[in-house]
Symmetry: C2
């Protein structure tokens, strides 16, 4: 029996609003598409959470034995300022402001994005297609939609006819929006709009003469709309219907609703069996947003360089912190919560190092036959929690239990000599597997970081001793010499000392 048969996964499907048992289209294979970033500015924390969510999904499916094709795109054209059909292209605007070629903007922020992904141990997808690499396919499907009467051309732009589509299908099926209300609310907004209805959306936009990013098309020179790229890239690499489509909650409407309409209109079938949406971030209980001044970048979180942050939090602490909440809940950032996460992660990580040592070194007796039922139950609980809509929060709670049992082994509470070798290995290897392979929790660049922490520990002890001895000359010398070497010692109220690198 395969692991994925033993622990069938259930997913909260945004399409039904219900938790459903996952059945892949092809047994043993999973096809998953996730909307990637628009690369016109630094990756933000919301991105990081979304891509962490689907990193976990793909990791766990692989852990269960599925072969996963995970497609996550790069949006490098077509996403307009304001997320609608008007205004400048986000990337073209940035290029104009920074006096760069748009593709220089794309490269710069793609690099930044990839760096954040690496820092947080978010694995690359199987395919990372970009919108500009699929212009031909986007033109093709637009032609098809015109032929089917579901799209119309005006002044070199092509729009999707939502009302027409809704006569045969259901626009609003994902978001629950009501098309009549949507049409009503948009009616008197902009009389100059060339669209038949405000609710219609662009498949192709005519390029104004100063627009740098443009390609020839049957409707003249232009560029694709924002929604069509995802329809094209998902179905090109995963088929006309595929298993899972994911993204941030904010993309549900209109982006994902439009994707469903485009694909269903063009191919006559629903494109996605399971829709998954990860929830938003808050800071001290308030929505995280640039305009509120309470948003910080991953790099700021990792360096501590932001007024809201008391100090730096490592990428792994951040990862652990995010996994403490279920992906469908909002996630609230605060210094207290991050510091608690740091402690929690350290505890699990210490047990991870210990588990690895034990697996390598512990000698069990060949004749020992004892099984420890609790160990098996804990491993079983990890699978069940992860299979229950990828519940990382509950899985972490089980891992804390397992960490205590691992410490028991070290402390000699359990006499491992009596325990069956396979039982011990099963327990320890699953702890390591859930930590590293499933949750992706592993310490960053161990070597020098650990050594630095060790050397600083020795220095801090020496300095504390010097102070206790009222040897202020020595205490000051240590502080000053460290400062000369780019290390800032900080004295806490309680006599504790911490350090920061300049």
């Amino acid at each position: 029996m395969k692991l994925y048969e033993q622990y069938p996964v259930s997913i909260t499907n945004s399409l039904s609003g219900k938790k459903e048992v996952f059945k892949s289209l092809v047994p043993g294979y999973v096809g998953m598409y996730v909307c990637g970033p628009t690369v016109y500015n630094n990756a933000h924390l919301g991105n990081a959470r979304t891509f962490l969510t689907f990193d976990i999904v793909s990791r766990y499916f692989r852990f269960l034995g599925y072969k996963v094709r995970y497609v996550r795109n790069i949006t490098d054209v077509g996403h307009l300022v304001g997320d609608g059909d008007e205004g400048e292209d986000k990337i073209a605007k940035k290029a104009r402001l920074e006096q760069l070629e748009p593709m220089e903007v794309v490269k710069h922020y793609t690099e930044d994005f990839h760096q954040v992904m690496r820092q947080m141990n978010i694995l690359p997808p199987s395919i990372e297609p970009s919108a500009t690499a699929h212009i031909i396919e986007q033109i093709d499907i637009t032609k098809k939609l015109i032929e089917k009467g579901l799209a119309y051309e005006v002044n070199g732009s092509v729009y999707f006819n939502v009302k027409k589509y809704n006569q045969q299908h259901h626009y609003g099926i994902l978001s629950g929006r009501n098309i009549e209300e949507l049409m009503e609310s948009g009616r008197d907004l902009d009389s100059q709009d060339e669209k038949k209805e405000k609710i219609d959306f662009a498949l192709w936009k005519n390029a104004s003469p100063e627009h740098i990013m443009r390609w020839p098309s049957p409707w003249g020179s232009g560029f694709p709309g924002w929604h069509i790229e995802c329809t094209v890239m998902s179905t090109k690499y995963l088929g006309e219907t595929f298993d899972i489509h994911g993204g941030g909650m904010d993309l549900k409407f209109p982006h994902h609703e439009c994707e469903i309409a485009q694909a269903t209109g063009a191919n006559g079938k629903s494109p996605v069996n399971y829709w998954m949406h990860s929830n938003m971030l808050t800071v001290n209980g308030q929505k995280m947003s640039k305009s509120l001044g309470n948003s910080f970048l991953p790099a700021e979180l990792f360096s501590g360089n932001h007024p809201l942050l008391e100090r730096a939090y490592s990428p792994m602490t951040t990862r652990f912190f995010m996994l403490q909440s279920h992906y469908s809940s909002t996630l609230d950032f605060s210094n207290e919560a991050l510091q608690a996460a740091e402690k929690g992660f350290k505890k699990l990580n210490a047990a991870l190092l210990l588990a690895k040592q034990l697996v390598r070194n512990i000698e069990t007796s060949a004749t020992a036959q004892q099984e420890i039922p609790e160990w098996n139950n804990l491993v079983d609980a990890c699978f069940k929690n992860m299979s229950d809509d990828f519940n990382t929060a509950k899985t972490l709670a089980v891992l804390f239990e397992m960490a205590s049992r691992i410490n028991d082994i070290k402390a000699g509470v359990v006499d491992v000599k009596k325990v069956k070798k396979e039982s011990l290995q099963h327990f320890l290897n699953h702890y390591i597997g859930f930590m590293e392979d499933v949750l992706g929790l592993q310490e960053e660049s161990q070597g020098n970081t650990d050594a630095l922490a060790g050397a600083m520990q020795v220095l801090i002890e020496l300095r504390k001793k010097a102070r206790a001895d009222r040897n202020y000359a020595l205490s000051d010398k240590i502080r000053d010499d460290l400062k000369a070497n780019g290390i800032q010692l900080k004295d806490g109220k309680d006599g504790e000392m911490t350090y920061e690198l300049d």
Copy 2:
């Protein structure tokens, strides 16, 4: 006067075979295109050397104050097995063998390539376009060449007519090949060839039914030829004529020769002012090649995991090693040479750490007026060597001289109290700048490594003082506490102390 005016760069232009003074098309700006990897297998060391060469070129231009747009492509379609017009697409073949979507192959090996680049501190280019993202532009230029009578269609494929082109232009201008000889030698090779002359090359290839990577075109479904992508991507982002085109020596013919023919044929002007080619690798004097069994991957070099390698050599040792030869010379790998390079790099790196400490800490007198002419001469020599066709080998020789002078400062041979502050800073900052910014030589994971070295310096000083005071209890405590933290202090004969991590 700008630095690039003060130290004009000369380049050995493969087009003339001569060293020429570089004049950019737009003052202060440099446009450079380099042929990137075909991502169907792991990046090999030859790639690494080529991209290191042009990393240095772009770094030095920037150091001189130029604004550089550096375009390096990813070949993800069109490069056929055997590098000619017959045989399977390299990526499609790999996809078939590994049962993957071609774009999964592309993503996998692009990741590998980028990892090697990061390890070796080779900076990303400004734009990294891919062939599949420029199908439309490749079709456009092919149409243009047909219109101009320089290309013809046969059975859904389009070929460049070399003979016809050569009537107006000069095919062989870069490689020095003689077109008559080339036509003679190819005449009787393959009677089934649909090309008019063996020397003609594909701009567009008709896709056989089982071919996965295919796009619609005026000539039916197909895919672009290998040479046309570089013509399209270089001129799209850099203009019809641009400053520098680089690549490995093996690409000179036919790839670069064909690029010149395509661009000149389409646009009526020569595309590139300066062609630069980096030379090949040898191992113990023999050409490095898979079939000889003497080729190893960067990952194997960094891990030491190859029968020819006595042990591992770090990415920075490798980088330093490669920079010891001029890019236009062959470069011979041997364990002896790599071990010598390791020592050399350590020496320069130690002086780099020292220079950084000195810049931060040394107190000079405000009234000191002494200049040290040798220091200025050394800095001047660095610029002159680098401006002389990017001679990294000679620049390294000067940096060794500078490293000795920096050690002199530390040793008190020079009384810095008498030296003008600006003079000292000029010298030290240029050493740091040429090491880190120009040659990109810096210890991996700098931050914590520097800090660790600093913290250990403070501890070593404390321990020396404890010994001098005959406070052996303290001296031992420092040693023992460090050991408990995984750091081994070693006492040298001369009272010097070094450390190693467990």
